[in-house]
């Protein structure tokens, strides 16, 4: 609604009312109209101020990008795996059904992977009580001989398992590292990030998935994580 134009129309209407009804003008009717008009204008101003305030409030807040994760209909079930952690315990991805999982394929010789690891440690700290878990799949040929010391030195606080070519193939042929999957509470792949990715992209995806089905999450109790480098 364009207020100046409306105001002009009403002004013309007022003048017309005064002019045509001159001598036989119903002052009460005119004044009632003017009072009603003024009330309308005050109501419109209040609405506009409220709208401005609401817009101002939301513009400074952090909004999750809708494109952080795939729509539900496009998500496919993540392949299950059974891999060993540092103590030889078997870890299955299906044990984490009901939780949001960040599944990271990495290696100790991978420079870009090391940029992301501190972020993942922070995500684990911030979100583990909200039904979230990070699983790092190490792709080092040298195995735990190199991965254990690395994890201890870095204080990695999330579960690490030893990957192999078979699991890499099942996840679509993971070749480049890091390759990171975000998996929703139903065990479906919600997003894939190949190469060094912005921290914000992960954060947005995690928050979006955590918000979904939080009330219905039937987090199955998984075996306690035996952490190599936890401090």
């Amino acid at each position: 609604m364009h207020l100046p134009r409306l105001h002009r129309v009403v002004s013309l209407l007022k003048r017309w009312l005064m002019g045509t009804h001159q001598g036989a003008v119903s002052h009460q009717r005119v004044f009632a109209f003017i009072r009603g008009y003024n009330r309308l204008m005050r109501a419109l101003c209040v609405i506009l101020v409220l709208a401005a305030l609401l817009t101002g409030c939301s513009s400074g807040s952090r909004t999750v990008k809708a494109a952080s994760v795939r729509p539900n209909k496009d998500r496919k079930l993540a392949p299950d795996f059974a891999l060993q952690d540092a103590t030889g315990h078997t870890v299955k991805l299906s044990d984490y059904r009901g939780k949001v999982v960040l599944l990271d394929f990495w290696a100790t010789w991978c420079g870009p992977c090391k940029i992301e690891i501190p972020w993942f440690q922070e995500f684990e700290r911030q979100n583990k009580d909200k039904g979230f878990a990070v699983i790092g799949v190490a792709m080092d040929d040298e195995g735990w001989d190199v991965v254990k010391p690395f994890a201890q030195q870095r204080g990695i606080n999330y579960r690490l398992v030893m990957g192999d070519d078979s699991v890499a193939q099942r996840f679509g042929g993971v070749d480049a590292l890091p390759t990171t999957f975000l998996i929703d509470r139903e065990g479906r792949i919600a997003s894939v990030h190949i190469g060094l990715t912005g921290r914000r992209d992960f954060e947005d995806g995690i928050q979006e998935l955590l918000q979904t089905g939080a009330g219905n999450a039937s987090a199955r109790s998984s075996a306690p994580a035996v952490l190599v480098g936890a401090r």
Binding site: T108, W109, C110, G111, P112, V146, F150, D175, A176
Partner: protein, 123 residues
Amino acid sequence: MTGKRGAELSAKIAVSLGEGYHVNSNTPHEAYLIPLKLTWTPAPLEVASVIFPKPHDEKYQFSPDQPLSVFTGNFEIVTKFKVPADTTSGPAIIAGKLRYQACNNNMCFPPKTVDVKLPVEIQ
């Protein structure tokens, strides 16, 4: 290649990397990095030396403070062989393996080993 018994000969392996990619040099700055390595089966020729070009230091997005010792683009690795005096003359194949680990600015690829075969005529 042709080599006489008791003589030396050298072979060049030409390596070509795509734009934007690098491999760790044969002497990376950090122990956890996988070096470029060329090894040969010790017969019928003896390996005298493997000579790599001079690497250069580069900083990448994932290593902004610590430069990496790398090779990029096209380069050659030279191997000097010695033909033992008692080697059987005739055609032969020298077999080797080149191991490398490549990355670009934001991702890395698993180490790979490729077979290298050099035909040689021993006189």
